[in-house]
């Protein structure tokens, strides 16, 4: 796989660390145990396109939101993490 880092350009996957599902959003502190359970454990595990966190650990060290296909390993849109991401 080659991931196009918005800061560094297309780089080999070996430079990146996988950091998990980016579609899970941390609930507000008072949201209750069920919301936190879902945040920590419930995953859709799609056989198709996913939204993930990858860190460009051996590059610019930015956290990126990556759309990726779990069957073909094709990479879609890559955006820097940030407010609203």
């Amino acid at each position: 796989m080659r991931i196009p880092c918005p800061h560094c350009g297309p780089r080999d996957e070996i430079e990146f660390s996988f950091r998990g599902d980016a579609s899970a959003c941390r609930p507000t502190p008072g949201a209750g145990p069920d919301a936190f359970y879902d945040y920590v454990y419930t995953r859709t595990n799609p056989r198709g396109w996913t939204l993930e966190w990858w860190q460009h650990a051996s590059g610019c060290r930015a956290w990126l939101q990556v759309r990726r296909h779990t069957v073909t390993h094709e990479i879609g849109a890559v955006t820097p993490a940030g407010p609203g991401a």
């Binding site: 796989m1 996957e13 070996i14 996988f18 998990g20 599902d21 359970y37 920590v40 454990y41 419930t42 995953r43 595990n45 056989r47 996913t50 993930e52 990726r68 779990t70 069957v71 073909t72 390993h73």
Partner: protein
Amino acid sequence: MPRYSAFRIFAEGLRGNRGWTPTWRKAAPKPAYDVIVVGGGGHGLATAFYLAEVHGIRNVAVLERGLIGQGNTGRNTTIVRSNYLLPENNRFYEKSLQLWEGLEQSLGYNVMMSQRGVVNLFHNDAQRNAAMRRGNSMRLGGIDAELLDRDGVRAMCPLIDLDNGRYPVMGGLVQRRGGTARHDAVAWGFAHAADARGVDIIEHCEVTGMLIEDGAIQGVQTTRGEIRAPKIGLAVAGHTTTLTDMAGIQVPIETHLLQAFVSESLKPMIDCVVTFGAGHFYISQSDKGGLVFGGGLDGYNSYGSRGTLREAEHVFAAGVSMIPALGRLRALRSWAGVMDMTPDGSPYICKTPIHGLYMTAGWCYGGFKATPGSGWCHAWTIAHDEPHPLNAAFTLDRLRQGRALDERGNGPYPWMQ
């Protein structure tokens, strides 16, 4: 049922081997069964076998979308052991190992179970203490475990570089009853014995939908038509969530890929199973002479049964650090399978929120050793509509209840388990 014996091989040899017949029937689906098992890997076939053998439930179908044994059962590195730390795990895996020890007799089929010993190396004080703790926990559970010093490791596997400059070996934890079995023969043996007890093994039959009424399972839709049954057990490894999605239930599983490798064939070189402690690497030698080895997950969700070079490089580097002689060899083949990884690394053998729907799932990269135990417990759970004490902890809601079975203490990251 065809019976296998030394005499039969001799007699068939004299008759030009014309008397052999297929070891299981190619069954066509009937409209209804008492129990349907989805997935014709080791776990599904073992479930069907124990349903018939232990519980007398013989009107059973195993539905497999491709050919039996071509999922993870036919792709794994075949290590069998029961050297776990947590009592819930070591009780279950010990039951499974005991079933392995008598498996050839109960199936009437040679699965080439070889108790050649499994040794886990350690390289520093902390690892030694962890190995001792795990060994003691095993011994408290009545399981064999032995701590080896450097000489002990040298005696078991002389090729290991004990004085590796970066990762010198301090010793190892060995389970001598652990070992390997022949992966394909496990699928074929369970198929052989289940078929002989009346189970229909139906290949090229993919489950595409679930028939559910009032919260109870009624049957499945398949590429070969609708098949009904009041009880259905899932045993589909990395594809579990594609089936639970059809049933509208959520299970804490992520699908990840794991690679394995085999070298060219060699004269006997490693006669036990060894795992490296300073990197993810394990190795054994098959009866054909190939060194069979692997490492960790590729580390990202995937349903594609093929890995990338990043993990391959780690595996080769770790292998050569542990046994420098490997550097002279060529890898013959590599492949991958898709794992059902759970947040705590432990499995689910349980009922589900749908009445009559059961599953054995979440086997991560370590379910081959569990094959007989998983089938045995899954069959029990289906037959009694409640878990056996051996699998009572392997429920779907244990994480919600704060009862995670996290053997490695890695936290809720399936790709790190």
